[in-house]
């Protein structure tokens, strides 16, 4: 007696046959196998039912469709409009090469999209950045009053041009480097990297190289810009002219848990991962404080007040706020006032800041924790309620 081994077709092969995608050998088997034929019929019926349901989504024949040629014309207009927008201050200021160096800001931006509007961040980088960070304060900004910064692209663009034409990069940041463990990350980044003991899985660790640059301010040009933006009441201090501002950004380390976009991916690559798929993503970023050196006679508080007024504060509000802040050691993080909750929390043995945003318009609830400990800035961003993030942050070692 001869035993013949019969391999029936898999569900996948049968389903492929429904769409005419089964190979010859599979088709030969099917022709001779009643069992497979019966399974095929069931699968084909189900595929047909699902297809009928999906067919409900087809646009009605009399609904106007946009043909390819007119669409291309619209694309050209769309593209011209976007090119202007993208040519914003942030791009002008830091360019593609320097952007990754703002590790913390870039990472927070990926997860907390709503926190990141470039003009405000770039301003924060300039006028709030004259410091070594020892503490963090969250500043809610009324976005409806930001017309001069976010609506009028020209102001941002011109500031960017002035900055970039006077900026010299003294250390180019290299490409992000994926490393195996905390020890390797610490060795490359030059500070002790701490990881949560209570983490659900091993993280993907990345070290982003540091960067350094300086720029020299031309007061006349800067004042002309303020005047043009309708803020001639704001007078820049004379000490600003010729001031050389040196910025050093140390290497940063990120630990990504769950399903996260690759940290070294360009922003345009993030579209291949949906919010739904990112729900498990949690990113911890660590960076020693960037340092900004300014001439000793620069009136930082006066500059800060001007900056605050540009974000929509009255002179009195700006003065009041400015006096509560030590501008040499406080990183002020602007967040849009609407839709965000924020407050101070005990985290990792110090007082930190929690920024939380509830589910809105399909974007899931997400949070960012920011704190400073022993000269290192920590940022942790994730989806859902912040409890899990807090527990993780509290288990750092």
């Amino acid at each position: 007696m001869t035993l013949r081994l019969v391999t029936h077709l898999s569900e996948g092969q049968l389903r492929a046959h429904v769409d005419g995608e089964l190979d010859v050998i599979g088709r030969q088997h099917l022709a001779a196998c009643a069992g497979c034929q019966a399974r095929l019929d069931a699968l084909a019926a189900r595929a047909g039912r699902v297809n009928d349901r999906l067919a409900r989504l087809a646009p009605a024949a009399d609904e106007p469709e946009l043909a390819a040629r007119p669409a291309l014309a619209r694309f050209k207009a769309y593209s011209a409009q976007h090119t202007r927008k993208e040519n914003s201050m942030l791009n002008q200021l830091f360019g593609r090469r320097l952007r990754p160096a703002w590790g913390l800001a870039a990472l927070v931006a990926v997860l907390a999209v709503s926190l990141s509007f470039p003009a405000v961040r770039a301003w924060a980088g300039q006028f709030l950045g004259l410091f070594r960070v020892q503490q963090i304060t969250v500043l809610p900004v009324d976005t409806t009053r930001l017309s001069g910064l976010t609506g009028g692209e020209t102001l941002g663009q011109q500031i960017g041009q002035i900055m970039s034409s006077s900026m010299t990069v003294t250390k180019e940041p290299g490409q992000p480097q994926v490393v195996a463990d905390a020890a390797e990350a610490s060795a490359i980044a030059g500070f002790t990297v701490r990881l949560p003991g209570a983490a659900p899985s091993a993280p993907q660790l990345t070290v982003q190289d540091g960067a350094a640059f300086y720029f020299v301010i031309n007061r006349e040009q800067a004042q002309a810009l303020l005047d043009e933006a309708g803020h001639s009441e704001l007078q820049l201090p004379a000490s600003l002219d010729g001031a050389k501002i040196e910025v050093t950004i140390p290497a940063a380390v990120t630990a990504a848990y769950g399903n996260c976009p690759r940290p070294d991916a360009e922003e345009t690559a993030h579209e291949s991962i949906s919010w739904e798929e990112m729900r498990t993503c949690l990113i911890l970023a660590e960076i020693p404080s960037p340092t900004v050196n300014t001439p000793p006679d620069l009136d930082v508080q006066a500059l800060a007040e001007i900056g605050l007024q540009l974000t929509g504060m009255t002179p009195q509000e700006a003065r009041d706020f400015s006096q509560t802040v030590d501008w040499t050691s406080t990183l002020v993080v602007p967040i849009p006032r609407n839709g965000h909750e924020y407050g101070q929390v005990a985290v990792d043995g110090v007082t930190g800041n929690l920024i939380y945003r509830k589910t809105d318009d399909g974007f899931p609830a997400h949070y960012t924790l920011l704190w400073v400990r022993d000269g290192i800035i920590y940022g942790l961003s994730g989806f859902g309620e912040p409890d899990a993030g807090l527990a993780l942050a509290n288990s750092l070692k």
Binding site: G12, R15, A47, V50, R53, L54, S79, T168, S272, W275
Partner: protein, 188 residues
């Protein structure tokens, strides 16, 4: 005007990018004209609103336009992955669509004199339920069902999902099973 080294470099990088874009401009137009109908079609099905689908399709092509590795991309796969992702995310946003469906529903009831208003309402409800299921499903499965239904071949689907062509049958069977189970919960 004196420019610093870094600015000169940045300018030259920008110019390099622009030159490349100009070189691929003709290619880009051909790509646009070839893929627009289907990209737009996928999005209309998904979000149900022509204006929103148009915005999302333009956004999809804009992202392609910005890339400087267009020649190396698997175009079909990339375009449909991005378009369906933008569409699914928009579907979760949903406000504009609900408004559109309400308006469209009213318009249909008011203008289709001969049609039974109850029938029109039932069709609208069914459309809403199909979208709700796609929205609730695993995004990968939703994407697969939608793109297959929009006429992508197994090869194109494999490129869009980043899997082997030989896995598509099994993935489709699983997605359809999932879709039907969810449908039964809504409409036993």
């Amino acid at each position: 005007m004196t420019v610093t080294t870094s600015e000169a470099r940045a300018t030259s990088e920008r110019r390099g990018g622009e030159a490349l874009l100009k070189n691929v401009a003709t290619d880009f137009e051909a790509i646009f004209l070839e893929h627009w109908p289907r990209v737009y079609g996928v999005l209309v099905r998904l979000v149900g609103d022509h204006a929103e689908a148009e915005d999302l399709a333009l956004e999809t092509f804009w992202r392609l336009y910005q890339r400087d590795d267009v020649r190396e991309l698997n175009l079909g796969g990339w375009l449909y992955r991005v378009a369906s992702n933008l569409g699914l995310n928009a579907l979760r946003g949903g406000k504009r669509r609900e408004k559109y469906e309400l308006t469209a529903g009213r318009w249909e009831v008011e203008n289709y004199g001969g049609a039974d208003p109850a029938e029109v309402a039932a069709e609208n409800e069914e459309r809403r339920q199909v979208r709700q299921i796609l929205q609730d499903m695993n995004p990968r499965q939703a994407r697969l069902l939608l793109l297959r239904h929009s006429g992508l071949t197994y090869q194109e689907l494999a490129a869009a999902l980043g899997v082997k062509t030989s896995s598509i049958g099994a993935l489709l069977a699983r997605a359809e099973k999932e879709f039907e189970e969810r449908w039964r919960i809504i409409d036993p």
